[in-house]
Symmetry: C2
Subunit: 408 residues, 2 copies
């Protein structure tokens, strides 16, 4: 079909849950058989179902500290397997197709094994295969630095797909997964949560950061920079889903969703001497230990003494506490207070900072439900309250109602 | 250890049974840790245990006719997994090592997927890693044509190892497998069979062809051409094994082993008109159908009419019979006779054709045991009798005794 050559391609990415068994792969091949009528198609695949976890378990039976380069070699096989099987299924349906490894697809990465970043894409091979009328199936999550394989880290297939879509000038990038799309809240916490037909990049990033876990953050950031429309769809269901794109002006200043993130802990350094460089001294050892820190607030009180609070994942609490307690004298802090069993609940929407009534509405709704707010942080598009974990579902539900998210 | 650089490397190949589980891999790593003291080491690995069969089963759940290129992509992952795991195990023991895919190791192949042949090796990368003091672990069974992966076909890892050993000027090539070496007969048929400490290339080829199945034929042919010594060893047992090398002069004119091959069938075209090109007309359709033919004999009788007999595997009998029966008129043969339930038993030894008493001794031994000979074929180093399958064990045992193979 040479007419296809000039058409803009579509990039579609299928996650591991969509490719979990040979039967899943056959179903995906059937869908691709239909979709490829519309436009030239590049398909990015993850490893089948639990393959990645199985390979990690295999390595752990060899050594507790697998070499990062060799772990990359091992992990990269998962996506090659699903790519080859999907192409076999496509051939069986009479669809011309070819599988390409990340390096064959020209995905260039930096040298950091296990968490490489894409530095560029040489699209000549992919373009040539598309020009030959083939569906191009690319093993996601991998690329190369020189003759060396590298993997992009967990969820990297989303980033492979978005980067390919940008380089190829694709009209859009469809991410097929086992959810219907992005919801106004986690449906397990808020039953009346509603699927959003579309959402802005920035809003999506806040929702994903806060626990929506639909799409890897890096891929959304990349799509945002290049203005690429990304659609999240369910590989089994109908053609519903959520489009992530530039938000229209009239949709601004609305709360779009409730983000929830459980399993948090708070650390507070009491009576710190407030002086230049103090914050850096506090956070440098945590950064070295690879502990992400969130929601930093500092209140300067009397006599230039400050209380500094921040949030970490409960799993990191012990390490963080140990590191800071050892430094209390040099930090010149009176003490360290910690509390766990916390959660974050946020309202997210582009332009929230221009809607002065929103904070009050949020705090009232929580207060009316008897929920105590431990901590408040905000960004341009988000207001986050730290509360007790046991009240998270209630908090999400009352905020969902307070901002009328059940209404389309 | 820069002193190692100038030393001749050793190439060692570990088969799937030697790498079946993480525990097997750890044991191999321990052996390598000891062996690398002696010389720079290149290790060629097969896929773990039943991995190759598992991958084929996975493909068969997608389609009965997998595309050969995609099957190559799929199959090649098995060796990458074992290479990466072995290197992790070596690192854990403090042995510097690196895994290389077939393409990374510079193994160049022709373009035929699933049964590619090695056309050459670019050893620069392997040499550089050896020079850096590393054990180089190469994924066997695979190479590349341009940017395309290709696999060498079943048992191709033996050929990868021998080709690397030749290119690197290795002092020898050790093939580790789950047998102790090459025996004077199949020990399951002849309990008194004895391991041979050494055997000639040609003898090994005849034994392997006839069913010894210890080492892939192609790898022996390649070693023969370049005069490379190949040792077959058990990866678990002691340092016993069989060395395959040029036979010393004084060892010629001896029977070295009994080869057995079960599951054979015989076809005989009766009263063929004996004319030029007749044999080609008979065998061309079988060759097109991919049916290997063995032990062809033709007796020209009265009036220029001939009977033409040959042997095929029982599994190919139905197809071969159908093809030939359809051509009986144009072949101008009176009829086709078939018989199944046959086996081949052979005595093998370099220089047998110069030992005129051997055929008589062989036929007498079989006759004394009441075994009827259906057919006889010979080569320079082999005399083969086709007999009934049910008498194969007896035949192997009486020949083993007749030629005193139980004696060292």
């Amino acid at each position: 079909m040479p007419a296809l050559v000039t058409a803009q391609p579509i990039v579609a990415k299928y996650g591991g849950s969509s490719l979990a068994t040979p039967e899943h792969i056959l179903a995906v091949a059937e869908r691709i058989g239909r979709e490829r009528e519309a436009a030239p198609l590049v398909v990015v695949v993850s490893a089948m179902g639990a393959t990645t976890d199985d390979l990690i378990a295999l390595a752990s039976r060899i050594t507790p500290r697998p070499d990062p380069r060799e772990l990359d070699v091992l992990m990269s096989t998962g996506e090659l397997v699903s790519a080859a099987l999907l192409v076999m299924a496509l051939h069986d349906r009479g669809v011309d197709a070819i599988s390409l490894s990340g390096p064959q697809a020209g995905i260039l990465t930096d040298g950091s094994h296990g968490r490489a970043r894409i530095t560029g894409i040489e699209p000549a091979r992919v373009r040539a295969e598309l020009d030959a009328g083939r569906v191009v199936v690319v093993a996601g999550f991998q690329g190369s630095t020189g003759s060396e394989f590298a993997t992009l880290g967990r969820g990297g297939s989303d980033t492979s797909a978005v980067a390919l879509a940008i380089t190829l000038g694709a009209s859009r990038c469809d991410i097929y997964t086992d959810v219907d799309g992005v919801y106004t809240a986690d449906p397990r916490l808020v039953p009346e949560a509603r699927r959003l037909a579309e959402i802005g990049y920035e809003e999506m990033l806040e929702l994903a950061h806060q626990g929506a876990k639909v799409l890897q953050t890096r891929s959304v950031e990349l799509a945002w920079v290049y203005g690429l429309e990304v659609s999240v769809r369910n590989s089994i269901g109908a053609d519903r889903g959520t489009s992530i794109r530039e938000v229209a002006m009239e949709q601004r200043q609305k709360v779009r969703g409730i983000a929830t993130d459980d399993g948090m802990a708070k650390l507070t350094l009491l009576d710190l001497a407030d002086r230049p460089g103090m914050a850096a001294e506090v956070f440098a050892p945590l950064a070295e230990a690879g502990i992400p820190v969130d929601g930093i607030i500092q209140n300067v009180g009397h006599d230039g003494m400050a209380d500094l609070s921040f949030i970490v994942a409960e799993a990191d609490l012990d390490t963080a506490e140990r590191l800071l307690r050892a430094r209390l004298p040099e930090l010149r802090a009176r003490d360290l207070a910690v509390s766990s069993g916390l959660a974050k609940v946020s309202i997210v929407g582009a332009g929230i900072h221009n809607a002065p009534t929103y904070p009050a509405r949020m705090f009232s709704a929580l207060g009316d439900a008897g929920i105590n707010i431990e901590m408040i942080t905000t960004s341009d598009i988000r207001i986050t309250c730290v509360i007790e974990s046991r009240q998270l579902a209630t908090a999400a539900a009352v905020l969902h109602r307070a901002f009328e998210l059940e209404k389309a």
